[in-house]
C-alpha cells in the first residue's frame, strides 16, 4: 500500500527545550496508525510538528511525496490534513454552529450534506447548535472538535486522544466512524485507551522520550507482552 505520510528523524525545539529527538514513522493510505507512549513522551508534539504548529528543525516530513516541513500551518491544512487537537481547540465564545462554520472551507451542498452526516454521529451537537462552545460539557467539546475535523473529507486526519472524556457508548460510535472513514481517509491516532487503539489500529509507533523506539503492526504488539509491559505498563 502507498505511503501517504512519511516522517523521518524529526527534531523539534520548543523554546530552548529539545522535545522531539528523532521521531520517525509512516502512515499508509487507508490505514490507522497509532502513536503510543507515556505522558510527556512527545506524541502531541509529533502531531503538532506535522501540522507545522511547532516546526521541526531537522528531519523530513513528506506528505504525498511533497515536503511539507517548511509549509505554514494553513497550507498544510489545505493540502488535506485534518487535525483534532488534544485540548479540543474549541472557540469558547462562538456557538457550536459558528465553530462548524469557521471550519468549513466552503458551504456547498456536498459540505452541508457531510455536516449532516457528522451531526448524526454526534446528535448532542445538534441539540446544542446555538450554544456557546465554552458551555459544552467536556465530552461534547470532544465531539465538536471531531465534528469540525470530519466536516471535510481529508486525505489525512491527525486525531489526538479522541476517546478522552467520552462515554463508552460514544467511544464505540467514534470507533465505528473511524473505521468507516478509513475507506477514504488515512488516520494517525494518538490514543491512551489501548482497547480502542488495538481494535482500530493497523500499525503502531511507540514513542518514548521524544524518539521512536519501536514500530510495527498492531497485531504483533497485541501479542507482544514484553513490549506492552515495557512501554505501556500493561499486560
Amino acid at each position: 500500500m502507498k505511503t501517504l505520510l512519511k516522517v523521518e528523524g524529526i527534531h523539534t525545539f520548543i523554546g530552548q527545550y529539545h522535545i522531539l529527538q528523532g521521531v520517525s514513522f509512516e502512515a499508509r493510505e487507508g490505514e490507522v496508525s497509532v502513536l503510543l507512549g507515556r505522558n510527556g513522551a512527545g506524541k502531541t508534539t509529533t502531531l503538532k510538528t506535522i501540522m507545522g504548529l511547532t516546526p521541526a528543525s531537522k528531519g523530513t516530513i513528506f506528505f504525498e511525496d511533497k515536503d511539507i516541513k517548511k509549509q505554514p500551518t494553513y497550507t498544510i491544512a489545505n493540502t488535506g490534513i485534518g487535525y483534532v487537537p488534544e485540548d479540543q481547540g474549541i472557540f469558547a465564545d462562538l456557538t457550536v454552529e459558528e465553530n462548524m462554520k469557521v471550519a468549513m472551507r466552503k458551504e456547498d451542498d456536498a459540505t452541508l450534506a457531510r455536516q449532516e452526516y457528522v451531526l448524526d454521529l454526534f446528535p448532542d451537537l445538534k441539540t446544542f447548535w446555538k450554544k456557546d462552545g465554552g458551555h459544552l460539557s467536556g465530552g461534547q467539546k470532544q465531539m465538536l472538535a471531531m465534528a469540525r475535523a470530519f466536516v471535510h473529507e481529508s486525505k489525512l486526519l491527525l486525531i489526538d486522544e479522541p476517546s478522552k472524556g467520552l462515554a463508552p457508548i460514544v467511544i464505540e460510535k467514534v470507533m465505528e466512524a473511524i473505521t468507516e472513514m478509513k475507506k477514504s481517509t488515512t488516520i494517525v491516532l494518538v490514543e491512551q485507551n489501548f482497547i480502542m487503539a488495538s481494535r482500530i489500529g493497523d500499525r503502531y509507533t511507540l514513542i518514548d522520550d521524544g524518539a521512536t523506539v519501536h514500530a510495527g503492526e498492531m497485531k504483533d504488539l497485541i501479542g507482544n507482552e514484553e513490549l506492552k509491559r515495557k512501554y505501556l505498563g500493561i499486560g
Binding site: 507512549g37 507515556r38 446544542f128 486522544e161 491512551q192
Partner: protein, 257 residues
C-alpha cells in the same frame, strides 16, 4: 449516620436547558461514590453546584447538615469541599511547585500573611515536594505549568486537590488522558486515601473498570436527572445504563481488565 453531603431538589437551568434537574442525593461520609452518565448528563455541573462554582436555580445543598446553598466557592473550599477540574485548570505561568504550594498554603490557612517571606514556610515546600512525588511528577517541579503535556497537567491537577487535604474530594475525570501505565499509580493514590478512611470521595469517570474497582456505590445521572443510585452490581445490571451509556464496549472492557 448523617450523610456528609445532601442535596434537595437541586436544579440548575441555563436558559431553557435544565442541566441538573431536581436531584435528591445523599453522600454517606467516608465512602467513595462514582458518578456516571452520558456526556452532557450534568455530572460536571452537579459538581459545580456542590463546590459553589455555580449557583443553583432551585434546591439546596447541605454539608454536614448545614445549608450551604448560598455560600461562595471560597467558603465551601474552606469548609472542606475540595475539587479537581475536568478541563485542566491550573496557574499556567507558575511552576508546578508553585501551583502545588499555593494549594498547600491554603490548607495551612496562611491567607493574609503579608510580611513574612514565603520561602520561610519550609514546611509548605516540603509538603509540596511530597505531593509532586505522589502524582509522579518529580523532576518537573520547576517546569512552567503551561508547558506540561496534557497528562502531566492532569497529574498536577490531582496534586493540587490532594494538597488541599479537604474532607470531601470531588474528582472530575482525574485520569482522562493519563497514560495507561500511570493510571494504576493514580488509582493507588485514590485507594490509599480511601483506605485511611477519613475522606469522602466523589468521582466522575467514564472508565468502567476503574469505577468498579474503586466504588462503594455508583450514582447515574441522565439528562440532568438522578436515574439510579446503588451498589456497583445494581447499576451495572440496570438496563437503561447498559443501553444508553455503556453500549457494547463495556463487556470487552471488563474482559480486558
Amino acid at each position: 449516620m448523617e450523610p456528609i453531603i445532601k442535596t434537595e431538589n437541586l436544579t440548575i437551568r441555563f436558559g431553557g436547558h435544565t442541566a441538573v434537574s431536581k436531584v435528591n442525593f445523599e453522600m454517606p461520609a467516608k465512602q467513595l461514590k462514582s458518578i456516571i452518565g452520558p456526556n452532557g448528563a450534568g455530572k460536571t455541573t452537579f459538581f459545580n453546584l456542590l463546590s459553589g462554582e455555580l449557583k443553583a436555580t432551585e434546591g439546596d445543598v447541605y454539608f454536614k447538615g448545614e445549608n450551604i446553598t448560598s455560600m461562595s466557592s471560597v467558603a465551601r473550599a474552606r469548609l472542606g469541599l475540595g475539587r479537581s477540574f475536568q478541563i485542566t485548570n491550573v496557574f499556567p505561568n507558575l511552576t508546578v511547585l508553585e501551583n502545588v504550594r499555593l494549594a498547600v498554603q491554603s490548607k495551612e490557612k496562611i491567607r493574609y500573611q503579608m510580611y513574612r517571606h514565603f520561602t520561610h514556610y519550609k514546611k509548605l515546600l516540603e509538603e509540596s515536594q511530597r505531593l509532586i512525588g505522589v502524582v509522579l511528577l518529580q523532576g518537573k517541579e520547576h517546569a512552567i505549568a503551561s508547558q506540561l503535556s496534557h497528562g502531566e497537567k492532569r497529574k498536577l491537577e490531582i496534586a493540587m486537590l490532594l494538597a488541599l487535604d479537604t474532607e470531601v474530594l470531588l474528582l472530575d475525570e482525574p485520569t482522562a488522558g493519563m497514560s495507561l501505565e500511570e493510571v494504576p499509580a493514580i488509582l493507588d493514590v485514590i485507594k490509599a486515601i480511601k483506605q485511611t478512611g477519613d475522606k469522602t470521595i466523589l468521582l466522575i469517570e467514564h472508565k468502567m473498570d476503574m469505577i468498579l474497582d474503586l466504588s462503594d456505590s455508583i450514582m447515574v445521572l441522565f439528562n440532568g436527572k438522578l436515574l439510579a443510585d446503588g451498589s456497583p452490581e445494581e447499576i451495572m445490571n440496570n438496563e437503561t445504563v447498559q443501553n444508553a451509556y455503556l453500549g457494547g464496549l463495556y463487556d470487552e472492557n471488563l474482559a480486558e481488565s
